[in-house]
Symmetry: C2
Subunit: 170 residues, 2 copies
DNA sequence: AGTTTAAGTCAGCGTTGTTGACATTCCAAG
DNA sequence: CTTGGAATGTCAACAACGCTGACTTAAACT
């Protein structure tokens, strides 16, 4: 509407002036991109009896082996009942191992089995390939900006969780 | 793994060399950010008898008034049965109006009613506020990069749909 | 006239959220 | 030491929203 890139106008303020139209483009970009983001793993999972929730569980168990059910459901942002259904099938199918805590026997510590690692690898490979290709197309500076905006978009507590995972990173 | 940020190494290639760890951070950022992105509308919708699917329908009908059912379900990427369930409630509740096409009477053209516009406004206001705040925190250059990566992450046909919407923009 | 297309409906199923009820374990206060 | 509460995890039932498949109606195309 009206401008596009018309105005360097006012001081530094100009760069912070955002039309509803610009924001809506961002919203739609987010919607379409997330679909692409999940498309490849979803395709793979649908051939098995699994869904996106299984993917997420496997991802974060791989990310933080030995994590407790409670940790996991905080990260995933679902109820323990919802997570439990997913874990039950993964454990039943021998992809995840659940070990009773040694210091606190109420806790269950979660690990991927060999089969679990195999599935995790298949799924991440697909998702990383898409990510790599997007990063490559957009260029390294764009990637910086991409991450910055995403971090600003998270809820505060999730930003903390994400931050902790970055430290632990690699 | 194995490295981290070891290498500026090779020529310009260095900027395109992406470790699995870097990619995984992007994947997790996308996951947490999308949760934040949908959190505010979800909260509002859960107080009514609606869900995310209703939001999406209302959004795109507002975006392209008079769109047909077929257009809509292509954009949304769901089956007509799934969309129909949502549209039926929206029409029944008087948020959406369905008019028989004048040139092709098989088609139904969809419009928001006054009530529909009200809901749409409430939902977008919440989502735009989050978006605006994220953009503001990240800065204008980051926003450029953000959009570039998201576009590269979409499936080709959705990139086309997204592009068309940008042209039509406002 | 016969085929294709747009839209809608009904029935049924799977994944993944939810709440409610319950068992087990730990810990701290009496 | 016992008892009551908090934390952890499990089982059951329900709702939202995807999906497939089968079918109808109406209009358009050929």
């Amino acid at each position: 509407m009206s401008d596009g890139r018309s105005g360097q106008s006012f001081s530094g303020e100009s760069l912070l002036f955002l039309t509803d139209e610009q924001l809506r483009q961002g919203i739609e970009a987010m919607f379409f991109a997330y679909r692409g983001f999940t498309a490849d793993p979803d395709r793979i999972l649908s051939e098995m009896a699994y869904g996106r929730a299984h993917h997420r569980a496997v991802h974060f168990i791989n990310r933080a082996p030995g994590t407790t059910v409670n940790n996991l459901l905080t990260i995933l942002g679902v109820t323990k009942q919802s997570l439990n259904r997913v874990l039950r099938t993964l454990i039943g199918d021998g992809l995840v191992e659940s070990r009773v805590g040694t210091v606190d026997k109420r806790e269950r510590h979660l690990f991927l089995t060999e089969h679990g690692h195999a599935l995790e690898a298949t799924l991440s490979d697909a998702q990383r390939a898409r990510m790599r290709s997007a990063y490559k197309d957009a260029g390294p500076e764009a990637v910086q900006g991409f991450k910055r905006v995403l971090e600003a978009m998270m809820d505060a507590d999730m930003r903390r969780a994400y931050g902790k995972m970055r430290e632990t990173g690699s």
